[in-house]
């Protein structure tokens, strides 16, 4: 499938910003499941900083904006060819040991309830355990936009029984780590569903380390493994660590952020 992405993030400041610094994890890498044909990122008024591929295989790009400005627009446009590998991250070059992803962070800490949930899954293989954990997280946290926020922890989302993709991913990572299975947060994009089910185009899911397969994606929010509708941007311990854009603006005032994401399937250009 060929997917066209347009992703615009607009930051508005009620008082002009003197300077801003951003770190982007906004460049999908190519592997067996996706091939990047074209990808452009622009930052209004921005100066491109250093860029490098990190140990997890993600391209990280720094940007700075010299003020004063009242708005900063980050525009991403691109075209990616995808294949369904039933979630298996094959052919992805990275150096970080999977063991590093056994470490818990604030949002992915397993409290007693998460640990009990994780331990309720019986499985005779690493793959069955991963599927079982993804299923039980999907059952325990209903998709409900607006009930949780950016800083909600996995434990809080489970206690409420509601959340969005970020909460599902955090909860799945927490459960996996409790079962000694490395888990990590993945941010990316998802093609609009033809059946009109609710989803988020700027999406997130989890990858679990499965013996014999390596990293495998699980999307509890949609009760599936990532397929050709998914574009993978990058990974991290949790939502903050894997965020596509991390930034700081030197401004005494308030910041407002608007995000618009469109993902569309396009026909092959030639033919």
């Amino acid at each position: 499938m060929r997917l066209a992405v347009e992703h615009v993030t607009l930051y508005r400041y009620d008082q002009p910003v003197r300077a801003a610094v951003q770190s982007h994890r906004l460049h999908p890498s190519s592997f067996d499941g996706q091939r990047v044909e074209d990808w452009q990122v622009t930052v209004s008024g921005g100066v491109k900083g250093g860029g490098f591929r990190d140990g997890a295989g993600d391209w990280i790009q720094g940007w700075t904006v010299a003020g004063p400005v009242s708005e900063i627009t980050v525009t991403v446009t691109g075209l990616v060819e995808t294949r369904d590998l039933t979630g298996v991250l094959r052919g992805h070059r990275e150096q970080v040991s999977p063991m590093a992803y056994l470490r818990e962070t604030g949002p992915t800490r397993a409290d007693a309830a998460l640990a009990a949930l994780a331990r309720s899954v019986e499985a005779d293989s690493s793959l069955a355990l991963a599927h079982g954990l993804a299923a039980i997280v999907a059952e325990s946290i209903a998709y409900a936009p607006g009930k949780t926020h950016a800083h909600t922890t996995a434990a809080e989302a489970l206690a409420m029984g509601e959340g969005v993709c970020q909460d599902h991913a955090h909860a799945l990572i927490a459960c996996a780590r409790d079962r000694e299975m490395p888990g990590r947060y993945v941010s990316g994009y998802l093609l609009a569903d033809a059946e009109g089910r609710p989803h988020e185009a700027a999406h997130a899911w989890a990858e679990l380390w499965v013996d014999g397969l390596g990293w495998v994606g699980f999307d509890p929010a949609n009760r599936c493994c990532p397929d050709e509708r998914y574009i993978r941007l990058g990974s991290g311990f949790d939502a903050r660590d894997a965020a596509p854009i991390r930034g700081i603006a030197r401004s005494p005032g308030e910041e407002q952020m608007d995000v618009r994401v469109a993902v569309q399937s396009v026909q092959n250009a030639q033919q």
């Binding site: 300077a19 610094v21 951003q22 770190s23 100066v47 491109k48 900083g49 250093g50 860029g51 490098f52 591929r53 990190d54 140990g55 997890a56 990280i60 790009q61 720094g62 700075t64 010299a66 990275e94 150096q95 970080v96 040991s97 063991m99 590093a100 056994l102 470490r103 311990f237 903050r240 991390r246 930034g247 700081i248």
Partner: protein
């Protein structure tokens, strides 16, 4: 009754390196000694060197007692120590370069993967990033104790930002000012080359994108930090700028320093702040001390950070156990300096031994420092031991135990005259293009009679440390 190695008097004789000091002490009546001691304290106070060594906390304005009786090594003793220290510094850096790339030592099964990769000090953010010259720890502080004429043990390694070197320099400075005669009578190797050696080391690891004489700065958390004196002292002696996070900013591919003549590019940052505060975009988002975007510049080769972020995984007290293994694995050599035998409470059989022998052991927190949160079995009451037993049982992973070492003693001025007191030693090994070690270090002394705890927060003092020329 344990016997202790006295570095001056051994087998009823004065050991040769101390020979001249015997006359020196004999020729110093009590009244003169008291006058000199007061003079030394006055000098230290005037310099303003009052900080707690090694980030021990406590009263920042308290003066750490200076003992005028020097500690002396022969050239031969030092040569062996120097080889051992440099060997260890090489192995520690090889370990860091390895665990942030292919992790061969883990794959070879020579160190448990969990101990490395699940370690709090392991920074995923720098995996796959190679710092200039593959050096992570540019100043390695190795804490040593001595138990016999030829027996030295490493207590711990400090790979991040070991402090205390300003004491090494000031102790010498003050001794030379007060007792110029003994410096004429003894051929003592100088330590005052340290600041220039440090500057040279830092400049030698300038980043790939630096194509001119590197601009080196020291990054301090600020004047409220207990080691601020040392930060500004070193900046002065090296002739480099002392900056705080707010003085630096990222623009484009580089880090810049605000100056009255406009922005000036910074190439090498000798940071005296912890990893987690370096860059709010990469680590703690609430850090006010760091520089937003610094880690992206670092990882793309625009600036060097010393010590490199992530270096702390090599000086964890549980990882310490494996340093001799690192020496063998990376260098194919036998370790010259020995580790203290260490029991890890996270292993159930070792925990059992520790709990059965608390009365004889020293128990420490894995991430602790400064002599806090530790139990010295032979010096503790049974109530203290029982209280500590509960702490260990509650969180065994957090503790290691070692035998109580018979730390050597050096004569020390006390109320009644001169008496032996226990000492340790921290030399500062510099690692850049070359590995360098100035002949000396910081000797800490437990001033209380019989005490084995040399930490300043627990009644420790400092001494000038001499290495004699041939």
């Amino acid at each position: 009754m344990t016997s202790f190695f006295n570095e001056m008097f051994h087998s009823g004789r004065v050991r040769p390196p101390y020979a001249r000091l015997q006359d020196w002490v004999a020729a110093m009546p009590a009244a003169l000694r008291q006058m000199k001691q007061a003079e030394a304290e006055e000098l230290f106070r005037r310099i303003g060197i009052t900080f707690a060594v090694y980030g021990e906390g406590g009263d920042p304005d308290r003066l750490i007692p200076f003992d005028m009786f020097p500690r002396v090594f022969t050239n031969q003793e030092w040569t062996r120590l120097e080889r051992g220290i440099k060997q260890r510094a090489r192995a520690l850096n090889a370990f860091l370069a390895d665990v942030y790339s292919r992790g061969e030592i883990v794959r070879a099964g020579r160190i448990p993967a969990r101990l490395v990769y699940c370690n709090e000090a392991y920074e995923k953010a720098v995996a796959g990033i190679r710092p200039p010259k593959d050096v992570y720890s540019h100043i390695v502080g190795i804490d040593l104790v001595r138990t016999g004429p030829d027996d030295f043990y490493v207590l711990e390694d400090n790979c991040r930002t070991p402090s205390g070197v300003s004491y090494m320099l000031e102790n010498r400075e003050i001794m030379m000012r007060m007792f110029p005669d003994i410096f004429r009578e003894n051929r003592i190797q100088p330590v005052d080359g340290y600041p220039e050696a440090l500057r040279r080391t830092l400049a030698s690891v300038a980043p790939p994108k630096c194509n001119h004489e590197p601009n080196v700065v020291i990054l301090t958390p600020g004047h409220f930090n207990s080691a601020y004196y040392e930060h500004s002292f070193l900046a002065d002696l090296m002739g480099v700028e002392l900056v705080e996070g707010q003085d630096l900013f990222v623009e484009g591919e580089f880090v810049w320093m605000r100056t009255t003549e406009g922005p000036r590019k910074v190439d090498v940052i000798y940071r005296r702040i912890d990893d987690s505060f370096l860059d709010p975009l990469c680590f703690r988002p609430d850090s006010m001390l760091g520089i937003p975007g610094l880690m992206d510049v670092y990882r793309s080769g625009g600036v060097s950070i010393c010590s490199a972020p992530g270096a702390g995984v090599a000086d964890d007290k549980a990882v310490y156990t494996y340093v001799p293994e690192m020496v063998r694995f990376y260098l194919g050599e036998e370790p010259i300096l020995q580790n203290v035998p260490t029991w890890q409470c996270q292993k159930s059989d070792e925990l059992k031994y520790v709990l059965e022998n608390l009365g004889e052991l020293v128990v420490k927190e894995v991430h602790g420092s400064g002599g806090y949160g530790m139990l010295v079995g032979p010096k503790s009451t049974s109530e203290q031991i029982e209280a500590f037993r509960h702490r260990i049982i509650e969180d065994p992973d957090n503790y290691i135990a070692q035998p109580t070492l018979a730390l050597s003693t050096v004569p020390t001025f006390v109320e009644e005259g001169v008496a032996p007191r226990h000492v340790d030693l921290r030399p500062y090994c510099l690692v850049g293009e070359r590995i360098e070690l100035v002949p000396g270090g910081l000797t800490r002394v437990a001033l209380r009679d019989g005490s084995l705890v040399v930490n300043s927060s627990q009644g420790g003092g400092v001494k000038d440390t001499w290495v004699l020329a041939e």
